[in-house]
């Protein structure tokens, strides 16, 4: 993975010093609340319901074992012994103290980590496929490009105060696992006619108040032009994006107002001036970054007694089927450690668990861990020979719930229990659903279902792109929940539609059960839930859910 050079380290250290100074001035009255707020947000610090929340960047979801250990140490020393992985490959600490935040940042800097631009109206952490570098369907490894974008976006002097936040995702595989079409910019790496790397550029996707799938404004941007083109897009957005209403300030609103074609033309005009300028990438520059992400030295494949263990042990076999993915490297698998155990808020992880994962990453693989935007951890490069041992260890740490991709692998924001923006709690609802549907045989029979839940329309839980989405709403001070159907992420990203009036919290498991009954009754052989919803439409589901009792 990428290693800081002396200058990278200096920039992060200087950012810590700058933030320490700003925090001290705020605490001693030199900066007002209104002045400090944008400054602290640009360093990932929110003031939450109970305490400040610090969001730490995990650039494109990659962590080294020593970085994970540092997060564990921070969780113990400065928080309550746990952290929370978000849908944008970041980690949040929910119980930090403001005066200690500069010290936390200084600790992070010792392991080449930071909280730069994890919030605020600036370019946020760039996200990508959690299986980058090992996925069988990968065309271009997105990680070097993510690092190039990370550096370009870090403390960009022109774009620190955009109209609103700005999120970039990069995919380099056939299946889009980075939800690129619901980002402000979604980049899909591909190969041109002559084998040249380039990007399909989609713009103006996003969830939140105005959920929308992005539009492709450039089908093939030769990769050497990536940064000059990004500069052009950001400049148009910075100059012309709305600033009069924060709910209309995302780039998607500008793209809509100008039409995607109009926006694309404006970007092209701007780009004409920047194209081939000093920020153009040569092959040599790209190679410099790519060299940090070369394949490790895999030992010869050795499956040991893997096949026999699977045949003997149904529980192990199920876990292998649900919670591991084959890699393009024969004999190795990526293990998905489920952070969706019933009774634990989705995405939460204790310091002890973090340390255990760091140990496994070093013992069984090459010392690297990935964060999936579905809020699970991934250990790539596990030899099939070691899977049974790792499974037992993962079970002992509560990581082996074999539910990846199933109904109970819920994407969920922290909701009203923590977040001051939330209209409703989300964690108890997720737990109630997990408790109701605890029969693994039933879950396996249902097959892949993505259930996403957000506690407010800011949509941190990506409810619009869940096959089933749940949105917490406020009705006269009470918490109610809307249900959406038909959303999906990936190449065919779609925004789910609200099926009707909202429900009280306690009725949500019943509502989900009725929806699933309709699916089970009416599905075709081998038909997935999403396909059935697309074929049947929402009507039969609505009829069942809203049927009057006789």
């Amino acid at each position: 993975m990428y290693q800081y050079n002396e200058i990278d380290q200096r920039i992060v250290d200087e950012r810590v010093a700058q933030f320490r100074d700003q925090t001290e001035r705020f605490l001693t009255g030199g900066l007002s609340e209104d002045e400090f707020r944008p400054l602290r947000l640009m360093n990932g610090l929110y003031i939450q319901r109970h305490a400040p929340m610090l969001r730490v960047a995990i650039p494109y979801g990659m962590l080294a074992a020593r970085q994970l250990r540092k997060l564990a140490e921070i969780a113990r020393r400065f928080d309550r012994g746990y952290g929370h992985f978000t849908t944008r490959q970041n980690m949040q600490f929910n119980w930090v103290q403001l005066p200690q935040v500069p010290d936390i940042l200084a600790e992070l800097a010792t392991v080449q980590m930071h909280a730069i631009q994890t919030s605020g109206n600036c370019v946020r952490n760039t996200t990508t496929d959690a299986f980058a570098g090992v996925a069988a369907d990968e065309i271009v490894d997105p990680r070097p490009w993510c690092e190039i974008i990370r550096q370009w976006s870090t403390l960009h002097p022109e774009f620190a105060f955009l109209p609103r936040k700005f999120k970039i995702a990069v995919s380099g595989s056939i299946d889009d696992r980075a939800a690129t079409l619901v980002h402000d910019i979604g980049l899909t790496a591909c190969l041109g006619a002559t084998g040249e790397v380039g990007f399909q550029v989609a713009i103006g996707g996003g969830l939140g108040r105005t959920p929308i799938v992005g539009d492709v404004i450039k089908p093939f941007l030769p990769a050497r032009h990536l940064l000059t083109y990004l500069d052009a897009v950001l400049r148009i957005y910075n100059r012309f994006g709305r600033r009069d209403n924060k709910y209309k300030a995302r780039i998607k609103i500008l793209v809509k107002a100008m039409t995607p074609e109009g926006f694309a033309a404006k970007v092209e005009d701007e780009w004409l001036h920047l194209q081939d300028g000093p920020a153009t990438l040569s092959d040599e520059h790209v190679r410099h970054y790519a060299d940090f992400f070369t394949e490790p030295d895999y030992p010869a494949p050795d499956s040991g007694d893997f096949a026999a263990r699977r045949a003997d042990d149904l529980a192990f076999d199920r876990w292998v089927e649900r919670n591991t993915r084959p890699q393009r490297q024969t004999g190795f698998r990526s293990v998905i450690l489920s952070l969706k155990k019933t009774g634990v808020p989705p995405g939460d992880i204790t310091a002890e668990q973090m340390e255990a994962v760091a140990d496994w990453a070093e013992r069984f693989a090459f010392g690297e861990v990935r964060i999936a935007h579905e809020q699970n951890l991934i250990l790539p490069d596990i030899s099939e020979r070691d899977l049974h041992t790792l499974w037992q260890l993962a079970r002992a740490q509560g990581f082996a719930t074999p539910n990846i991709g199933l109904l109970t692998d819920i994407i969920c924001c922290p909701g009203g229990d923590f977040c001051s923006l939330a209209n409703a709690k989300s964690i108890p609802v997720a737990e109630a659903i997990q408790r109701r549907f605890d029969d693994l045989d039933y879950l396996y029979d249902l097959g892949s279902i993505q259930l996403n839940m957000s506690g407010c329309m800011n949509a941190c839980g990506h409810h619009h792109i869940g096959n089933i989405g749940i949105l917490g709403v406020d009705k006269n001070g009470e918490e109610w929940y809307q249900i959406l159907l038909g959303g999906s992420q990936g190449n065919q990203a779609a925004i789910g539609k609200v099926i009707g009036p909202s429900f009280a919290r306690e009725s949500i498991p019943d509502v989900i059960e009725k929806i699933l009954q309709v699916f089970v009754e009416r599905r075709l052989p081998d038909e997935a839930f999403l396909e059935a919803v697309q074929r049947l439409g929402a009507e039969p589901f609505k009829e069942r859910v809203y049927a009057k009792h006789h």
Binding site: N5, I7, R10, I11, E14, R15, A17, Q18, D21, Q22, G30, E35, P38, L39, N121, I148, Q151, W152, T154, L155, H156, P157, E158, F159, A160, F161, L162, L227, R235, N238, R239, R243, H273, G277, P278, A279, L281, E284, H285, H288
Partner: protein, 170 residues
Amino acid sequence: MQNIIDQAGLRDDRWQLLRVEPGETLPEIAEDQDVIVPVTHWLADHARLGARQGRTAVWLAADGDPAVLQSTFNLLPLIAIDFPSFTDGRGYSSARLLRERYSYAGELRAIGDVWHDHLQALWLVGFDSFEIKSGKPLPQDIQAARPFSEHYQASFRQPWPLFRRCINHG
């Protein structure tokens, strides 16, 4: 104007900033007074304004288009760009356009909600003088307000991004 900082340090200077709405007429200006007028007033009347004994400059609102000043660049010793709030980042792009696209070589001044936390980024995109908001601490020189010793990006001050300077060719 007061609390102006530039490369020579902190000072007050002779410029008078006239914050006049586009429809309003300018107040009477003393013949030898150096004034900064809104863009609309300048464009409407630059022959008269420019013929005075005192110097005339313009200020651009956050949503102003720097391109409209191109034809009169050589008459303008100073262009100011207004930051109604420090969180309104449009002026950063305007500055780069003035400097890099239109090659404006005169003084470029940041006015409004400007204080030392933002001076370095403003400097990088092309500003070279700053009106520090009243009530804010006054840095004694621009060098003091530089939290970062290096930057990744290309900018007006450093046209070569870091990767082009660091990655060894050869």
